[in-house]
Amino acid sequence: MQIQHVNVKLLVQGRVGDRDLEPLIPVFHNWIENQNGDELLIDVADYRHVHGGPGIVLIGHEANYSLDNAGNRWGIRYNRKAILDGSNQDRLIQAARAALTACHRLESEPRLGGKLQFDGREVELFVNDRLAAPNNAETRAAADPEFQQFFRKLFSGKEYSISYVSEPRALFTANVKAAQPFTAAELLSSLA
């Protein structure tokens, strides 16, 4: 099974209010201006007015970044859109690395005043393609070994739990929780 269009969402601590989101807009505009990285960043879309919505989205060509509230769970989300070469592990690592790098940048961004912090434990992982990865038992059977391999690496062999969303209409989604907290920096170095 080819796992493409990986989305990684790193859940943040505490409640996120409208005021917390507002400074994110100029931050994302600066990312577009500076374009550091090998992805093309294009525009910023503001969906703060939508309940349980994508929040603020940084639209890119290869991927979108967002502070996303889908499922009423706030998190920093990386949504890989462009097809990526390599193995499934390569693609899982790439998405996680991109999400963690973004998270790290946002955590230390002075304009956000430290309000956005990874909660250290919870990660959601989606495959954003229903035909390539329908949310069913076959996909789970095929993807689970890859996911387990990836999360063992991500959490440096430490304990974690993984559960899969059963709603058939949902994207193929894994909810993962580490037994102990990690910082974004620690997880990034585990993927190095």
Partner: protein
């Protein structure tokens, strides 16, 4: 871009009409050929537009970051999907929903598409369509196939074609309707889709259906062809028919539709629409796009001549059995409820009561209501769409419609289910009250995604919603019922002309900087099928618009006489007084260090007009151009006042002079001693600004210059009230364009 793209054709084989599947296959081939450079970019652009696949802002590969123009280095290099439209640039996919009718499966498909190909949001437009933004061109065939499998097409959603046929969302359940127009709107939509007689238009064509004349309903007055249900008795038998209007349209200069016929029998509906299309295709303007809508053809010919041509054509049309086949079951058409009708709910909480008051309306069928689901700015998430599908299945037989107010309605809801339904909606954030009230601000996408956007309509709409929501329940009821509509530019996609308080984006220079503004347009009428259009009063910086709304609504609430409508209040107060009320808001802020004034809503970048232009600082000195343009605006205002006072001839002459004045302002940049001779001024303007294309707007081209030339040509001819009204609108647009031209030139002469 999606890895699954090659798989959908096989997966959905047999699940859609063969002809539609073949067409999508052809489009996919065209995409491949374009990538190989084997199809001309202009041809490809028209072909994708006819499938609802639009460009978006920044698709020319450039983006102004507030300081400088930044190149966006798309991986596909110089490959384009149209003139100046980069291949990889995110686009918009428009999805037609005839009469707004949807079922649960279709909502779920829209949810999946929003999630997989867009940004997780589906947007309801002011024409009952859906739109997905930030879509890659190579994903569009998959999108089209998945929609086709649930009987939705994107075909002719854009381009020079018959667009979505809209209809009143209460058709079939409204106590005031004459009869249910739903089957007729569907029949017309099906009949005209891909019809050979609709493939050679010079511009788009929009139809709508209303069940009555007195409510907003289908907004017949502002459509190319609007139908209002009527009945009459013939030989003792009641017959169904339509009052048919043609030649309406908003756009830059709004036109009221003219009555074509007070009774067109139902069996004549489709052939009549066909003949109207044929005359439009044959005689409509094709080269000058700014005059290519049918409203100009009807205006130029006059309604009687137009009607004569259409009826002549109708007589000679070869018979098409579909004219009657498609409507043969129309009189038997009906929807049915899932659950039995019930009694109204007990009072419930305050928030529930508020929601019932604003978001439900009684159906003619006892025990049932229509429930409106308020969508902030017309946006709904994938998860909300799925939840709504479940709710529709649980409480109704999936009788769902989108509305032109950018909401969704659920019909056939039993009154006794309201509390439970509300709870279910609230759980997914769809239980907001305020549908159709002042907080339910409608806005086009504007500068968020549209290439033509001048000011941020959605940014302003979001700000107004927030402020009005905070105090909505304290507001006088007369204010609560007002309509606010916002367009990002003069093209009226936000339908600002028919709002009580309408706004459209313009740009002005202040203290040497370009500043986003909105023209305040007052006195439009939403009811009676969009019966009348507002006139622009004054341009105000975007950041001051909330104060404009506050002042106008407060004044209305305190000064209202004898229950007058807002439109009547505007007429009675008069534009001189209204302008005076707002004038101070048109000035730059006292604190020049406050840079937020020079940024649009929720956009930290310094505002500019386009990705190519640069807003320049000219210090605090006021140039003679600015003085002269201000004089032009003052003259135009005088024209509006004269018009309002019934002095048609004077209004027309003054409007014309205001355009000459604006043209003179620009000419004086190079020929400061030009005499005050209109002929000389218009000639110099043509040579220096039109022939050189310096006056050309990046997106509208030389469109507005034609208004000046036409006005000059007809300067000594008698004018009617209608033609004067159009002239005033055109003068405003010309003056706005003169401002924009000056902003781009960024120059010169000091006072």
């Amino acid at each position: 871009m999606k890895v699954s793209n090659p798989l959908w054709a096989e997966r959905l084989a047999g699940k859609m009409p063969e002809a539609l599947a073949r067409e999508i296959d052809i489009f996919e081939t065209e995409i491949a050929l374009r990538k190989q450079g084997k199809i001309d970019e202009r041809l490809f652009a028209e072909t994708r537009l006819r499938r609802g696949t639009y460009g978006q802002r920044y698709d020319n590969g450039q983006r102004h970051n507030g300081k400088t123009v930044q190149r966006l280095g798309y991986p596909s290099g110089e490959l384009t999907k149209g003139p100046n439209t980069m291949w990889d640039a995110p686009g918009m996919q428009r999805i037609k929903i005839p009469a707004g009718g949807l079922n649960a499966e279709q909502l779920e498909t829209l949810a999946d598409l929003a999630e997989e190909y867009s940004d997780g949001i589906a947007h309801v437009t002011t024409r009952q369509d859906f739109q997905l933004h930030y879509v890659h061109i190579e994903d569009t065939p998959s999108i089209m196939r998945r929609l086709a499998a649930v009987k939705i097409t994107t075909r002719e959603a854009c381009g020079n074609s018959v667009r979505n046929v809209t209809a009143c969302p209460y058709a079939g359940v409204c106590p005031d309707e004459v009869f249910d127009v739903t089957p007729y709107s569907r029949a017309l939509s099906k009949f005209l889709l891909g019809h050979p007689d609709t493939q050679n238009f010079g511009r788009k064509f929009k139809h709508s259906f209303s069940g009555c004349s007195q409510h907003a309903c289908g907004l017949a007055s502002m459509h190319d062809m609007g139908m209002i249900a009527v009945k009459r008795v013939e030989k003792g038998e009641e017959k169904r028919g339509f009052e048919v209007y043609v030649g309406g349209g908003l756009g830059a200069v709004p036109y009221q539709a003219k009555l074509f016929d007070s009774f067109v029998p139902q069996e004549e509906l489709l052939p009549l629409a066909q003949s109207v299309g044929r005359i439009f295709a044959a005689l409509g303007e094709k080269k000058n796009r700014s005059r290519a809508r049918i409203k100009f053809l009807v205006q130029d010919l006059g309604i009687e001549k137009f009607k004569e041509l259409v009826l002549d054509d109708r007589k000679n049309l070869p018979h098409d059995p579909r004219w009657t086949d498609y409507i043969k079951d129309a009189e038997q058409f009906h929807e049915a409820p899932l659950r039995s009708g019930g009694k109204p709910p007990l009072l419930g909480t305050e928030s529930f009561q508020r929601w019932v008051k604003s978001n439900t309306r009684a159906q003619k069928q006892e025990g049932y209501v229509v429930v409106t689901i308020t969508l902030p700015l017309g946006d709904i998430t994938a998860n909300q769409l799925r939840a709504l599908a479940d709710i529709a299945r649980r409480f109704t037989k999936e009788t769902i419609r989108s509305t032109v107010e950018q909401n969704i309605v659920l019909r056939w809801v039993s009154q006794s289910d309201l509390a439970e339904l509300h709870t279910a909606l609230e759980a997914v954030g769809l239980g907001e009250p305020g549908a159709g009230t002042i907080v339910d601000v409608a806005a086009c996408p504007g500068t968020d995604t549209c290439k033509l956007g001048i000011s941020s309509s959605r940014g302003l709409a979001a700000e107004l919603r927030k402020r009005l929501e905070e105090k909505n329940y304290e507001l006088d009821e007369c204010i609560q019922n007002l309509h606010i509509k916002i367009s990002g530019c003069f093209n009226s996609c936000g339908q600002h002309h028919v709002a009580d308080l309408g706004f459209y984006g313009v740009s002005r220079k202040m203290s040497g900087y370009a500043v986003p503004h909105f023209q305040v347009v007052l006195g439009g009428e939403w009811e009676h099928n969009g019966a009348s259009y507002g006139l622009p009063v004054i341009a105000i910086p975007s950041k001051n618009i909330p104060e404009v709304v506050a002042r106008l609504t407060e004044r209305y609430a305190t000064n209202r006489k004898n229950g007058e409508s807002f439109k009547e209040f505007v007429a009675r107060t008069g534009k001189v007084e209204l302008k005076k009320m707002l004038e101070d808001l048109a000035r730059p802020p006292a604190d020049s260090s406050d840079r937020s004034f020079f940024q649009d809503w929720d956009d930290p970048r310094e505002y500019t007009l386009s990705d190519l232009g640069v807003g320049e600082c000219a210090g605090e000195v006021v140039s003679s151009v600015e003085f002269d343009l201000a004089a032009a605006e003052r003259q135009l205002f005088e024209a509006q006042v004269a018009f309002e006072g019934g002095q048609i001839e004077q209004a027309g002459k003054t409007a014309y002079r205001s355009m000459v004045q604006a043209a003179k302002a620009l000419v004086k940049i190079e020929a400061s001693n030009i005499a005050d001779d209109p002929g000389l001024i218009v000639g110099e303007f043509r040579t220096r600004f039109y022939d050189t294309q310096r006056f050309f707007d990046p997106f509208a081209g030389g469109k507005f210059a034609h208004y000046l030339f036409a006005a000059h040509e007809k300067a000594n001819q008698p004018q009617t009230a209608d033609s004067t009204r159009y002239l005033i609108d055109e003068a405003q647009l010309f003056i706005d364009a003169a401002h924009s031209c000056y902003n781009r030139i960024g120059a010169p002469a000091t006072a």
